[in-house]
């Protein structure tokens, strides 16, 4: 196996080296120059902790009754509705809020908050629930035994259990009966340098996605400027998703 590990996609690596070398204007060892192009990480390079993907959601811009982000998520990830809302998966949902004291209302999309200290990862007995180096919290369905303890532990009810057989899945979003799943930040898109489907679908531009660790990213600049909060910030989980206007 060792040998195979080493020559994985050699031709691709060579191609990348050559083409990036042209861009970089010189031949550099792989791994040194690749970070320069932050978004377009090469397909054969592992994710690193230098990046932390995150999101800022402005509930002031989010329209009540609009669920374009929810629909986009369902289409992108192939979350077919079976007609039973209690058992259907919902990776992102629209929540309406009304302040009990003041009567002020707000509307916002709630998705996996991609905590830096995720309770779902802590409680998972097999390690199926895990956090990628770049902060994206995922379920490795290959080793998920379907115990649902992560669903008990999540403060945001962000996780769903697949209650029925699934067929015709998207090749980039495998999902099947008996495992737990949740928002992946559209990891397959992020790995290509694109934004999650919900962010792209939001016409109000209420959702901004980016690298929280890159001070130059649009997200980081916004986060420095505007006042934003974490949902259940009292739990001190250091969330990847922050909100404005609540």
């Amino acid at each position: 196996m060792e040998q195979n590990d080493n020559n994985i996609d050699q031709y691709r690596r060579r191609f990348l080296e050559r083409s990036t070398a042209v861009l970089a204007g010189g031949v550099l060892a792989p791994g040194v120059f690749l970070h320069a192009i932050a978004q377009a990480r090469p397909v054969d390079e592992a994710v690193s902790g230098k990046v932390r993907w995150g999101m800022l959601i402005d509930s002031n811009k989010c329209k009540t009754g609009c669920d374009k982000c929810v629909k986009a998520c369902e289409t992108e990830n192939g979350l077919n509705r079976t007609g039973n809302p209690l058992t259907d998966a919902q990776w992102i949902r629209k929540v309406s809020l009304k302040d009990k004291q003041t009567g002020r209302t707000a509307s916002l999309p709630l998705l996996c908050q991609h905590c830096a200290e995720p309770p779902c990862v802590d409680v998972c007995p097999t390690g199926a629930s895990f956090k990628r180096a770049d902060g994206i919290v995922l379920v490795d369905k290959h080793i998920c035994i379907g115990c649902r303890y992560c669903m008990m532990a999540c403060p945001y009810k962000a996780r769903s259990f697949v209650h029925e057989d699934v067929t015709d899945q998207k090749s980039y979003a495998p999902r099947g009966k008996g495992t737990v799943e949740s928002c992946t930040f559209c990891v397959h898109r992020v790995d290509k340098g694109e934004s999650p489907a919900c962010v792209s679908a939001c016409e109000e531009k209420a959702m901004v996605f980016g690298d929280m660790n890159d001070p130059q990213s649009e997200l980081s600049q916004l986060l420095r400027e505007v006042q934003s909060t974490e949902i259940r910030g009292d739990l001190a989980l250091n969330l990847g998703v922050r909100y404005q206007g609540i």
Binding site: D9, A46, F130, A133, S171, P174, R175, G176, H188, D191
Partner: protein
């Protein structure tokens, strides 16, 4: 000693029966994939494809490495078998590339509870 002889004979007889049964069962007719050759030698692939896929699975899942050489998606794309309706068949069909051998060897495949066994319909 007579007992040992008897056991030995019985074992030989059993082995011969198994061999005969194997010879009798028709070898699976493996559908040809797209393109000239596979990403690895056919012999290597036959014995080790699960290792390649398993390795790639963890690389992609945990490290975000999305090379295509050993990715299940590429296997499915190249080795799609069309059914009578001209559309790719799913793993439920005995003609599916994976099914052909796995049914012959009576080894269950756990991939397709979650992964699509057909190339994505565009």
């Amino acid at each position: 000693m007579a007992g040992a002889h008897f056991i030995l004979r019985a074992l030989l007889l059993a082995a011969a029966t198994v061999a005969a049964a194997q010879a009798a069962a028709p070898l699976p007719d493996i559908p040809k994939g797209r393109g000239e050759k596979c990403v690895e030698d056919t012999a290597l692939m036959r014995t080790n494809h699960m290792e390649f896929i398993l390795h790639q699975r963890d690389e992609t899942m945990h490290k975000g490495i999305r090379t295509s050489k050993h990715s299940l998606k590429e296997c499915i794309d190249c080795h799609a078998v069309k059914g009578d309706d001209g559309l790719p068949v799913s793993v439920e069909s005995p003609r599916h590339f994976c099914s052909v051998c796995h049914r012959y060897a009576a080894v269950s495949v756990d991939c397709f509870q979650c992964h699509n066994s057909k190339p994505e319909s565009k």
